[in-house]
Amino acid sequence: MLLLPLLLAGTVYHTDEEALALAFPEATRLALRTLELDEAARARISEEVGYPIRERVVVLHEGWRGQELLGRAYILEEIGKTLPFRFLVAIRPDGTVDQVLLLTYREPRGFEIERDAFRGQYRGKSLADPIRRGADIRNVSGATLSVDALSRGVRRALAIDRALAHGAGGP
C-alpha cells in the first residue's frame, strides 16, 4: 500500500516547482493565490469549455518581475484514457497561452504529447480558437484520447483565467 503512489507516479517530467520556474524564467517573484469560484463564475467557465467543471477552488500562480506581471499559470489534471495526468498552462497577461508543460503522465501509450513539437501547438491560443483535435490541433496516432484531454485542459485553464480576470473568485 505504501508503494502505491510510487507505482502510480508514471513518468514525472517536472515537479510543480520546476514547471513554474520553466513557465516564468524571468520572474523575480512567484505569487500563489487560492481563490474560490462562485456559482456564476463556474457557470461561465462551464459554458466556455462546454461541460460542467468540477473546480470550486483554483490555485493561481503568478510570475512577477518587479512590479510587472509576466503571466499566470494553472496546474490542472485531466484523464487520458483511464489515468489522470498533470499539466501546467502558462497564460500571458493578454489571455493567450504562453506554454503548456506536462508534469506527469501515466498511460502506457501517448507519451508523445509531452514532446515540444506537440505542446508547441498550443502557444498563442486563446478562447477564440477551437483548441480541438482535427481543427487546430494535430492528432497523434495512439494518443487520441490524451490529445483530446490536454486540449480540453488548456481550454479549461483559459476559461478559468478569463473568469478570474473579470473579477470572479475570492480568497
Partner: protein, 515 residues
C-alpha cells in the same frame, strides 16, 4: 488505566442508583439503626457498580471488536482501490454486416471479434499486459461420458460450438522498464513486423476489414494479430524534437503446422465418405515445446521526427520448417509509415516475405508424408486421408496505402459529443505472389505434380467513418477485389471464391469499439 470519559460515565450511572437507594431506604425504615442501613445500601451500590463495570467492559470489548472489523473493512476497501488503480481491464471489438457478389457468400452479420485486455502495474517498473481474443465466438461445448455397453465399455465424446470460432491469446507479456530507453519484455509478444500488427485494435482503424498484407492473404508469415513466444528489448530515445524507438525479440517463430479437418459426407448416388484432411501451412510458433531447433529474430526501428509522423523499417527471420523437414528459413522485410499534411493522414506499409527452399520443402514434405492422398472404398463407404501443403509461395510482396481526411462540418449537430469526426477513407492494396504453390501431388514419397504460379491480387476500398468519440467508429465501405488472371480461389484465406470468379464487389457496414 481507566480513561476520564469512562470515569465520568460511571459517575453518571452511579448517581441515580445512590439517589434511588437513599429514597427507598428512607421509606421502609424511617429510623434505621446507625450503620446497618448504610452497609446494606453500600452493598447494593457496590453490586450495581460491579454490574455497570461488567457491562462497560463488555461494551468496550464489543467496541474494540467493531473497531477491528472497521479496520479490516477499510483495509479491504483500500486493497480494492489499489487493485482497481493498478489493474485495468479494457478491450475492443468489432462487428459488421457485409454483402458480396461471390456466389457462395451470403450477406451476413459477423461478430468479428471481442478482445479483452488486462494491464497490471505489478511494481514500480514492472507491468503485465494480455489480450484474450474471442473471434466470431459464441459457444463451445464438450460432452463426454463413459458407460457399459454391449458387454464392454463405451467412451462417448462430442464437441459442439459456433462455426469459424476461435479463442486465442493475442498477447501476454511481462515488461521490466529499466529506463524508457531500455525495457525487457518476455512472453507472448506481438511480432514487430510492419505497423498493422502492432496497432491491430479494431477501433483504431476507420475500415472494419483488415488489410490483405496483414490478414487477408497474408504477406506477413502469419496473419495479424501475430504474436510469438520469446524475449527481447524495446525502448525509445528522444532525438532532437523526435523519437527513435526500437524493438528486438528472439522468439520460437512461425512454423509449418498441421490442421486436421474431418469430413463426413453423404453422396448420391456415390458412397458415403469419411475424410481426414491434414493441411500444413505457416502458423504461429508453439507456446509449448518448439518443433524445431532454430529460433527466429524480429526487430523494428522507427523514427518519429514529430508527433503524428513516423517511418519505420522492420524484419523477421527464422527457420519455418519443423524438425522432420529440411531446415529452411523465412525472411520478411517491411517499411511502413504515417504522415499528415493539409488535414490529410496518409498511412502505409510495404512487406515482402521470402519462403526459402520452397521446392525442396515440398519434396521433403512428400518424402515424409509419403502419400498425398490415400483412399479405401467399399460399396458403402469411402475413407480418405489427404495431406496438403498450403499458403506458401517463394515470395509474397504487398503493400497498402490509406488516405484519410478527418473533419466535422460545422452545420452538423454534434449530438452532445465533444469532438465527433467524419473520416472519408481510401485504401488501395496490391499483393504479388511469385511462385505460389498452387498444386502439390505426391505418392510413395515422390512428387508427382508441382505447379507454381505468379499472381497479382488487388483491392480498392472507399469508405466513410463516423467517430462520435475517439474509441468508437461506425463505418460504411465499398470494396472491389480483383485478380490479374485466373480466379480468386486460393489467393486469400477468407473469400469463398469459386474457380471462375475473378473479382468481387462487396459492401460492409460496421462498428468497432474500445473501452
Amino acid at each position: 488505566m481507566r480513561s476520564t470519559p469512562y470515569r465520568f460515565l460511571l459517575l453518571l450511572l452511579a448517581l441515580p442508583l445512590l439517589a434511588a437507594g437513599g429514597i427507598a431506604v428512607g421509606a421502609e425504615d424511617p429510623a434505621p439503626a446507625p450503620g446497618a442501613g448504610s452497609d446494606a445500601q453500600l452493598a447494593r451500590i457496590e453490586d450495581h457498580l460491579r454490574a455497570v463495570e461488567e457491562e462497560l467492559a463488555r461494551l468496550k470489548e464489543s467496541k474494540a471488536t467493531s473497531d477491528a472489523r472497521v479496520g479490516e473493512v477499510e483495509e479491504q476497501v483500500a486493497g480494492l482501490q489499489s487493485l482497481a488503480e493498478r489493474v485495468r481491464i479494457g478491450g475492443y471489438g468489432s462487428l459488421r454486416w457485409e454483402q458480396s457478389s461471390l456466389a457462395d457468400a451470403s450477406n451476413t452479420f459477423t461478430f468479428r471479434r471481442l478482445v479483452l485486455t488486462t494491464e497490471a502495474q505489478l511494481a514500480e517498473h514492472l507491468r503485465f499486459y494480455s489480450e484474450l481474443e474471442y473471434e466470431r465466438f459464441r459457444k463451445l461445448e464438450l460432452e463426454r461420458s463413459v458407460s457399459r455397453q454391449d458387454g464392454g465399455l463405451a467412451l462417448t465424446q462430442s464437441v459442439g460450438g459456433t462455426s469459424d470460432s476461435e479463442i486465442s491469446l493475442e498477447q501476454a507479456w511481462l515488461e521490466w522498464e529499466f529506463d524508457p530507453r531500455l525495457r525487457l519484455r518476455a512472453g507472448g509478444v506481438l511480432v514487430p513486423l510492419g505497423r498493422f500488427n502492432q496497432n491491430h485494435d479494431d477501433n483504431q482503424w476507420d475500415l472494419t476489414r483488415r488489410t490483405l498484407v496483414d490478414r487477408g492473404v497474408p504477406v506477413l508469415p502469419v496473419a495479424a494479430a501475430w504474436d510469438e513466444l520469446g524475449v527481447g528489448l524495446n525502448g525509445t530515445f528522444q532525438v532532437g524534437e523526435g523519437d527513435l524507438s526500437y524493438q528486438l525479440y528472439v522468439v520460437n517463430g512461425a512454423a509449418l503446422d498441421g490442421e486436421l479437418e474431418q469430413v463426413a459426407a453423404t453422396r448420391s448416388p456415390d458412397t458415403r465418405k469419411l475424410a481426414f484432411e491434414a493441411e500444413f501451412s505457416p502458423q504461429t510458433g508453439t507456446f509449448s515445446s518448439d518443433t524445431k531447433e532454430g529460433k527466429a529474430v524480429a526487430g523494428r526501428l522507427a523514427w518519429s521526427p514529430a508527433p503524428g509522423h513516423e517511418i519505420a523499417a522492420s524484419f523477421y527471420t527464422g527457420r519455418y520448417t519443423p524438425g522432420y523437414l529440411d531446415g529452411r528459413n523465412v525472411l520478411s522485410l517491411a517499411l511502413d509509415g504515417i504522415t499528415r499534411f493539409a488535414g490529410f493522414e496518409l498511412e502505409g506499409e510495404l512487406v515482402t516475405t521470402e519462403w526459402g527452399g520452397l521446392r525442396s520443402v515440398a519434396k521433403s514434405f512428400a518424402e515424409q508424408a509419403v502419400f498425398g492422398e490415400a483412399a479405401l472404398e467399399n460399396s458403402e463407404l469411402e475413407a480418405e486421408v489427404e495431406f496438403e501443403l498450403s499458403n506458401l509461395a517463394k515470395r509474397k510482396t504487398g503493400y497498402w496505402l490509406e488516405l484519410r481526411y478527418p473533419f466535422w462540418p460545422s452545420f452538423l449537430p454534434t449530438a452532445g459529443f465533444a469532438n465527433p469526426q467524419l473520416v472519408p477513407v481510401l485504401r488501395f492494396e496490391q499483393v504479388w505472389f511469385e511462385d505460389r504453390l498452387a498444386e502439390l501431388a505426391f505418392t510413395g514419397g515422390a512428387v508427382t505434380a508441382l505447379r507454381l504460379e505468379n499472381r497479382l491480387l488487388q483491392r480498392a476500398t472507399i469508405g466513410l467513418a463516423y467517430r462520435p468519440t475517439p474509441l468508437i467508429v461506425v463505418s460504411a465501405a465499398y470494396e472491389y477485389t480483383w485478380a490479374d488472371h485466373g480466379g480468386l480461389l486460393g489467393l486469400t484465406n477468407f473469400l469463398p471464391a469459386r474457380a471462375d470468379e475473378r473479382d468481387l464487389h462487396a459492401v460492409s457496414l460496421g462498428v468497432a469499439f474500445g473501452f
